[in-house]
Amino acid sequence: MLSLLWLIIALPLAGAAVLLLAGAPPLRRLGADKWGHYLGSATVGVSFLLAVGAFFALKDRSDRHYEDQLWSFIPVGDLQVDIGLLFDPLSAVFVLLITGVGFLIHVYSIGYMADDPGRRRFFGYLNLFVAAMLVLVLGNNFVSLYAGWEGVGLASYLLIAFWYDRPSAATAAKKAFIMNRVGDVGLAIAIFVLFAQLGTITYDGVFSNVDDLSSVTITVVALLLLLGACGKSGQFPLQAWLPDAMAGPTPVSALIHAATMVTAGVYLIARANPIFSASETAQLVVCIIGAITLMIGCIIGCAKDDMKQVLAYSTVSQIGYMFLAVGLGGPAYALGIAHLLAHGFFKAGLFLGAGSVMHGMKDQGDIRRFGGLAKYMPITAVTFGLGYLAIIGLPPLSGFFTKDPIIEHAFDRPGWTGWVFGGAALLGAGLTAFYMTRLMVLVFFGKKRWTDDIKHPHESPAVMWWPMVVLAVGSVSAGYLFYRGDALSDWLAPVLGEPHEAATHKIEPGVLTATVIGVVVVAALFAAALFWRGTALQEQPVRSPFVIAARRNLYADAFNEAVLEKPGLWLTRILVYFDSRGIDGMVNGLAATVGGTSSRLRRLQTGFVRSYALTMLFGAVAVVAALVAAGWR
């Protein structure tokens, strides 16, 4: 089974190639527009089955480690980059998540994109994404990681700009790619440092020799990797692209910008845990980034009125939790991965639910214009509701079992930083409950507030709701998986180290859990009370600078524009001027001085091209003659 691992990547990749090429005029009679979406879903479905098979095969291996060299990619001197696969507990859970959730979202898209003339192209891009994401998590070296890393960036770009005639979508796609590239620079330089220091870029070679590196080098490499992780995962200070990415079709937001791609940063840090664990500074920075981002996401999430925007900021915030967890290190690595898996289920479900709502509401996304939809869309309401309960972290749903221990471990971090990170995580949990309740209540409960043109809001077709049901079941039952003590951390132990309980707790676990639940319930009830009667239909004038800042995404875009975009644009303009007037002007000036003679010459002759040719010929003859003369001297 494990020897078929390459097929898991090859199938969606081939699917992408077929789907994208099948639109070529000579191939059009194949009618790929009619069956393309089935092919696209099938490739990912089969990949999922293969992944399940591989998972059980891996379970039977005592070392839970399988490597396969496929071909030699870049062999020059000491640098030997192979295309190789690594299947271990960490990559296994990611492969299952990507192909499993990916398959559900493919199926959902059959319905969601049914009326779009570009559906075949859409499935081609989706398959391309799945293939690239699998390269990212299955590679056995940093170059494969980088290849997958930029590959998902491309797929994300193509899918955000899927409706490329919309200027906002095109701009958002470009923004996403470029902010990601800023992160990629970090990842690339980290690879250069590792090769220069260790002469290898394979995971095995690097991680088994981390001890040879100086502590400064380790910290530098870790921070560079972190820069890459921040770009891909929409973490501070590179978070501004992720909410804009919602310009893509909703299944894209669910798959790429919630469940899988944006968690690649967490994967990277967990994968490189031997490096991060060796640098306390780097771990502290990861924690700081996580804490800042989770607060940013919560605060802005409270101020947004667009359904997808709220969910986007909640993604930013939840990934902040994961970063916090992997930054804490030790046993918390596994918690980060657990939260990532749980989040993969409930956030994908929430986004699909949002897509279902918008599908039934003529693509409106303004939650002030919804209300009372539970009656019209019962399945969506129930599945969305389960995802909602999971994300705010109420027992016995999955979010509780993954978020609560993160908060606990954050408090347990030694020294005063533990209080800061723990406090932020706890406050974040309360804010999450607040804005998610606001979303839930405004969309599904209270009075209807939609516009007159929507006569009959309707439930989505089965092909769309049953993936939502599966994801909702996952959001609930995944909790059981994590509840069963250390099942996941035991499974991940070969990669992330043996789980062990901290000896002392700052706050008694029972007390803390009760506090967390209390904060969540109070915040949720407060939001419910506030919004049950609906909300004003216009944006309310506010006096608080805090709210204004939150509505403006905490000025991240304004900062980027004022500090980077505008000065950058001016710089290029000045340089263009300098290049044509400065450098070229100098050269032309020189030429004009010399050329005083040549312009007179030109007047003598016809000014035609022929004259230059003759001059040249004459010159060439003269040169050769001089040479020959010199030779015969």
């Binding site: 997958g148 220069a196 020799n209 263009v576 230059y612």
Partner: protein, 533 residues
Amino acid sequence: MENFPFLSVLTLTPLVGAVIVALLPVSAAKDAKGRNRADEAAKWVALVISLLVFVGTMLMFFAFDKNGDRFQFTEDYTWIPSFGTEFAFGVDGIALVMLALIALLVPIVILASWHDGVGGKRSVKTFFALMLALETCMIGVFAVTDVLLFYVFFEAMLVPMYFLIASYGGPRRQYAAVKFFLYSLVGGLFMLAAVIGVYVVSTDQLGDGTFSFEQLTQLDIDPTTQRWLFLGFFIAFAIKAPLVPFHTWLPDAGGQAPIGAAVLLVGVLDKVGTYGMLRYCLPLFPDAAVYFAPWIVGISVAGIIYGALLAIGQSDMKRLVAYTSIAHFGFIALGVFAFTSQAGTGAVLYMVNHGLSTGALFLVVGFLINRRKSSQVADFGGAGKVVPWIAGAFLIAGLSSLALPGTNSFVSEFLVLVGSFATNKAATVIATIGIVFAALYILWLYQRTMQGKLNPEMPKMRDISLRESVVIAPVLVLIVAMGFYPKPVIDVITPAVNFTMNDIDKKDPAPEARDEARSSEEQGDEAKSGAQK
């Protein structure tokens, strides 16, 4: 097969073709479709000849023994014996891959230019004759192992290219062509002086003067002389390749040249500069190369950033592509002067890959200009809706230009950077930042031309034609194929780069941490053994 005189035959075949095309009778006779018969004949002769050269080059490519001698397919014919110069041919892996690039691009360019001369005032026949003459010069410059002969081809390349730009170019073609010509000529003069200088030195040291590359590398030139001679060659190459600040001719020449000529100009001709740095500057003047390396790395990195920023600011598509090339030449020169096998191999691979990616970009831009009759970015907008397949080709070419993994350019850019980092850390970090700007100029160009609202002023445009598909498809296929499996090409290049590294007496630096760990272990062992004693 090994004994077939590939190089001289390949060099001469296009020249013969050019003469045939030139001698075709001029006639006004039209065929059934109203096309000029003489013109049609000229096109077909040119295409067939260039395809013959392609087949021959491929045969040679596969007959090349990558683990064999440094120079293969060597030929020697007497030229001016009193002068120590010969018609000496021979290729190493570096020249071989460049010859393969030329052989591939010329038929593509001929087919891409199929209708370019038609209907204009200039002779169609002459256009294709010039193309073939240019191919002879390009093959010659890479196929010779005699320095004087190299110089002759180096200068001779100018002539057909000059006429291609000046006769068939855009509205400012005269200005651009003269600028191109004067710049190159000035560079050539420096090189000529240095060539003569090398000859003089060889006369002093060997008794008989020589221009033979292999003999010249055996010379022991004193460092001061080396520096002057190095500069003579280097300035010529830095103008040709162009490095900042010698670059201002390229945007004009690339912007005004007809598309076919632009592809060959930026794709091949300019590579003679970087090729010359690696194949002539380094082996002939090793001490000087090491001496000047920090400066050259400096201007290379400056060029990467400067070229990219200028590309972002351009409003003309052809000029934009030309500026991106200035940034890319910075990467190549960085790789050449980093003195590691990875960076050197990367630089050579970059030359090939850049020929493909920029070639593809220019070709697609040419398709667009043919339809819109304008090269201004602002005259497009939302074109992806109208010409989706051209847009797709544009995007793949662009992604290759920004070195996305999965395309050929990623491999070469990665090699250059990872190889340069070991010897030039700060410069490599700055160069790596250039990849952000690369994303910006490509994606912004793509957004302004292909995405967004449809520009209402655009005329009705046909999507890609069959001829255009045949032109662009092989390049795109190679872009992707060499992105996934570059090994066959790398394996040809690396031994040649290693020979060059030996010439300058450089070895790849050992991994730093491992090195320290090993030496501290050894010290520990010594301490132990010392204690035992």
